[in-house]
Amino acid sequence: MASTSTKPIAKPTNTLLKTPTGIHGLDEITLGGLPAGRPTLICGGPGCGKTLFAIEFIVRGALQFNEPGVFVTFEEKADELAVNVASLGFDLDKLQRDKKMKIDYVHVDKTEIEETGEYDLEGLFIRLGHAIDSVKAKRVVLDTIENLFAGLSNQAILRAELRRLFKFLKDRNVTAVITGEKGDNSLTRQGLEEYVSDCVILLDHRIINQISTRRLRIVKYRGSVHGTNEYPFLIDADGISVLPVTSLQLNAKVSTQSVSSGIAPLDKMLGHSGFYKGSSILVSGTAGTGKTSIAASFADATCKRKEKCLYFAFEESPQQIARNMTSIGIDLQTHIDKGTLQFYAARPTMYGLEMHLVAIYKAIKKFKPNVVVVDPITNLITVGTVGDVKSMLIRLIDFLQKEQITVMFTALSLNNIVNEQTDEGVSSLVDAWLLIRDIENNGERNRGLYIMKSRGMKHSNQVREFVITSDGLDLVDVYLGPEGVLTGSAREQQTLLEETGHVLRTHAVDRKDREVLRKRKVLEAKIDSLKVEFESAEEELNKIYTEEDIKRKVLEETRRKVSDLRRSDSNASANTIKKGKSKK
């Protein structure tokens, strides 16, 4: 971090030279650090981290920038100070032995001192000058010079000497940090800001809903552009980390690559390929709608692609999630064992939002995942206001976008105003928003999933029924019929009903077919009998003909026989009879 933060000062033109502090994030906000060779005032209430800020300035200067420093303390003794910062891994004794740092404890005790007549603080100047010379210091801290006001009563002299002191520091060309306790109506109790006019940084420690948040603001920075917001900062094992609220520009890289959601029908709804890489996805729904399951299946899909996933669990423990997900056929444990999936679980109330954010930053920086899951973001509301959570998420999304990490948030909606606000608040930040709704009818609850938005994708506008089976998640088309949208068993029932109807219908058709067949058979039988009848009639008719024929033959025979018998001129008459017959 330090190496990146030193980059902005790479242009030492005739603009203000800056001294990098090495404090995480501060050099970004100040665009390079504190004004070099000039005093900077750090003010704030008790316990806001002034001394730590100052000591970090010196130690990091000595270690990272090879600039030795002098730490003049008016409050704590050198060894006390060393013990106090040892927890941050700063070895002040070693630094002092290596001549990289000098701690000078200035003790001012009013009870020991009697003032009479004119005096000046030349003694302090000589000490400071001597200390600076002894380590060739480039940095000086006075912590906190206001203690002089408690020890010495002649304000006129003090103020004149302070003015001289700051001039002295400038003349020595050291970058100085002066700490001052916050006053009631002024930045410092003794109005030190009057003397230090180059750079003033205000530290603040606020407690809202029992959760403390530290904030830092650059009140003034003469001759330089600087971030003007209140930046949250925190103090942890690595010292101070300041977080830029948002990156100054909206110019993160974008990708047209897409990543699968792990649920094939959902990918299809999203236009066949899933989410865009580096985008942010919000899954919101009421309790028990399967948000975690969607998140887990996304994580699972990521790990199956041999990519890395970091899962921030703010509700359940990793073991619990892993166990629960086996019930729907998602085996997260193997991914954990392989190291492609990492869990980061913390109770939201464990510390403030900013601490969470930094913890998330750090975990991401360390693990370098492709996909991040935050489950759920709504739990963070318990430690901050909606606005705070939103600003935290903005920064998180910003950061993730810059790193090209796809992120999935889950959000619990309770149908109350606060949470709807979160949804709305966050929804403008995210690229895709899946909403899972409870659809309750016929005495059962079913889940309907739809895509509220998906930037830059031709996504489906349909409500799908979201079913959780032992083999994973699936989306089913809901039944759209005359009775409206049907889901769950009602949908099944409807399907069954339709099947029954189909069976019945086929049966009916079969019967009709058979009837037709029968009718046909009857008709055919009828046709047959008619044919037979016709044949018999024909036969009858033929019989008459034959009989007549026979009769005629017999008649002719008889006649011939008769004529033969007569032997008369009956030949001719016999011929005419024949003729007549043939005519016939």
Binding site: E114, T116, E118, G123, I126, R127
Partner: protein, 97 residues
């Protein structure tokens, strides 16, 4: 109390007007009140800056009474005799109430 021996140090930074005044005042008081029972060491911090730390010197000039205990410091040009004597515990403090 009269018999105690006083070990005094006066810290100065060069020969400034204040330092000179302070030294002159101090010598006068000592001769007057502590004749023969004090030692006075004048330390010039411009010459020996490293000595400033040991006695926690901030202001110049500073008179430090090392012995007898308790250690006391008197800063300024020592123009107020009463205050100096009280500060050195030569004269008891007169507190109100």
């Amino acid at each position: 109390m009269e018999q105690e021996y006083y070990e005094l140090r006066l810290y100065v930074a060069g020969k400034t007007a204040k330092s000179v005044t302070a030294l002159r005042n101090l010598k006068q008081y000592c001769e007057q009140h502590l004749k023969g029972q004090y030692s006075l060491e004048v330390i010039d911090l411009l010459v020996n800056p490293q000595l400033a730390e040991g006695d926690q010197i901030l202001a110049i000039p500073t008179l430090v009474k090392k012995v007898p205990e308790p250690v006391r410091k008197i800063i300024g040009d020592l123009s107020n005799e009463e205050k100096v004597l009280v500060g050195l515990d030569i004269r008891p403090r007169q507190r109100e109430n």
